[in-house]
Amino acid sequence: MSSNVNVGLTNVGPETHPLTWRYTRAGKAVLDIQEYEALEGYSALKKALAMAQTDVQAEVKASNLRGRGGAGFPTGVKWSLIPMGPDVGQKYLVCNADEMEPGTFKDRMLMEELPHQLVEAMALAAYAIGASKGFIFLRGEYILAAERLNAAIDQAKAAGYLGENIQGSGFNFELFVHTGAGRYICGEETALINSLEGRRANPRTKPPFPQLAGAWGKPTIVNNVETLMNIPPILLRGAEWFKGLSQGKSPDAGTKMYGISGRAKITGLWELPIGTSCRELLYTHGGGMADGLELACWLPGGASTDFLMPEHLDLPMDYDTIMKAGSRMGTALIMVVDNKQNIVSVVRNLEQFFARESCGWCTPCRDGLPWTVKILQAIEKGEGEPDDIDTLQQLTRFLGPGKTFCAHAPGAMEPLQSALKYFPDAFKQGIRAEA
């Protein structure tokens, strides 16, 4: 059941790929704690425990690490919003491992192949923010990841990297794997916290932000798996080293787990300098489209990102560039749509997903998404009404940013609005001729 990882298997030199370097050095999953320690595992935690908490935070802030869950918020800034000091009391660190964004399979690989790197990262991050308890919110379907993370936690406890008085530092940290029971909306930060508390996963009003009032009303930091797993290498080798990993391809720092799905020759995951172009990813690493197929358009990072076109292939895949091109980098696992697909059907599939996964909390999302699906189904069958395209355009505004409680519906509108923009004729063809 191991993942289709194509990441730099020849990369056995100095650490240039912080997320997969230990995996490629070992040539396989690193499950045993001694093997992980031999690859400098847990050295970053030991180093951090000898530093002041604020210095650890400062190093992460200086590294320019941005959230790898999709939003790209600077991790150090997020951490700096959590109250520090002896009077704050209980705080929590939560790892968002509820990977369910269609097109995304990076956190699965990272957790299955390198569970200790996440455990170390959580202990280290918890120390930096002063959290004594952590949860890995893992989707229930990741059976192997749960098994391997729990085994890693047991080993780490026995070795004194978790629990009471870690490595004699006086710092205590307890880590627990919480497995979910489905629903995409659990990946939304505040919905995730509600779910962790055993409630329906409806998002919460912000503010207050989780950094002030999160799980059980206490200050809480929620970070994605890939984000966290960058942190031990940053502490070990420094912020400047991390910034250099993007090799000038982007003002952003570090590497990124990039991936390809859809009908490309080679699909899978690659850890590459952030800012690598989609052309390099798809044609150099993915071997191009499958035989007989041409690229029609692509989703840069999950179902909730706007389509981009072949003309965007040379853009560096980083947060700001992809944003300027009218989309979002999202999770950076691209999905290629080939010329044999009916784009209306592709969008219908995407919107069906969002309609089913709406938590139902706010009206535009709960009612607007099924409405969108109905119109798309009609257009798909050639039974669209003359004003259906206008209605779809209107829905992209009514369900857009600022109109709903969370980012679910606005995310759903991204592929729709871009498909309407780039493929107007495909939609027009599905409109019934006026009698």
Binding site: M100, P102, Y184, I260, S261, T267, N349
Partner: protein
């Protein structure tokens, strides 16, 4: 307060729920034990509601009405809250399911690589629609959102096993593993 009144007010809600054989629904020792253990992982018993539902489901394949009320009592929350949670999460089953539950990814990655053909083949092979269970109680078929293996789609899970690159041509080999 009279004795009669107090005994009436302390009648647990769970005792009022009808069961098929008329006897009150009870959790097994191991279910009760596992739920009590799960509570200790969290700050507050309510947080164990999803774990509790999953524990009951692990033992019985699904979550009957009586279990909702008993979980509520163990967690000191209302049965309505437990039911609200049970019906929110798609991996908690409030209806009986077959011995093996097939969940098929119907999201975009698998859609691009052959979901429609696979789903049609599943329905015709099993002779059921999504949401139904085969007459011999062997399989229940359900759709699910992205299973996080888009590079190896179409993907489905049967119980705890993930199967990659499933197509109408290798479907029978996959199904044969589950009796």
């Amino acid at each position: 307060m009279s004795t009669a009144n107090s005994s009436q007010s302390s009648t647990p809600y769970s005792a009022l729920i009808a069961t098929e054989n008329g006897a009150p629904f009870v959790l097994t020792e191991s279910e009760r034990h596992e739920i009590e253990h799960a509570i200790h992982h969290y700050e507050d018993p309510r947080a164990a509601s999803i774990d509790a539902l999953k524990i009951v489901q692990k033992h019985r394949r699904w979550v009957p009405d009586g279990a909702i009320a008993l979980i509520a009592e163990l967690l000191s929350i209302s049965a309505a809250d437990v039911e609200g949670v049970a019906t929110f999460y798609n991996r908690i089953y409030r209806q009986p399911v077959g011995r093996h539950v097939i969940i098929v990814c119907d999201s975009i990655g698998c859609f691009l690589t052959g979901f429609d053909e696979l789903y049609a083949a599943l329905q015709s092979t099993l002779g059921i629609q999504p949401g139904q269970t085969t007459a011999d109680d062997r399989f229940t078929l359900l759709p699910v959102c992205c299973l996080g293996a888009c590079d190896r789609g179409p993907v489905l899970m049967i119980n705890d096993d993930t199967h990659f690159n499933v197509s109408p041509s290798n479907l029978n080999q996959v199904l044969e593993q589950y009796i």
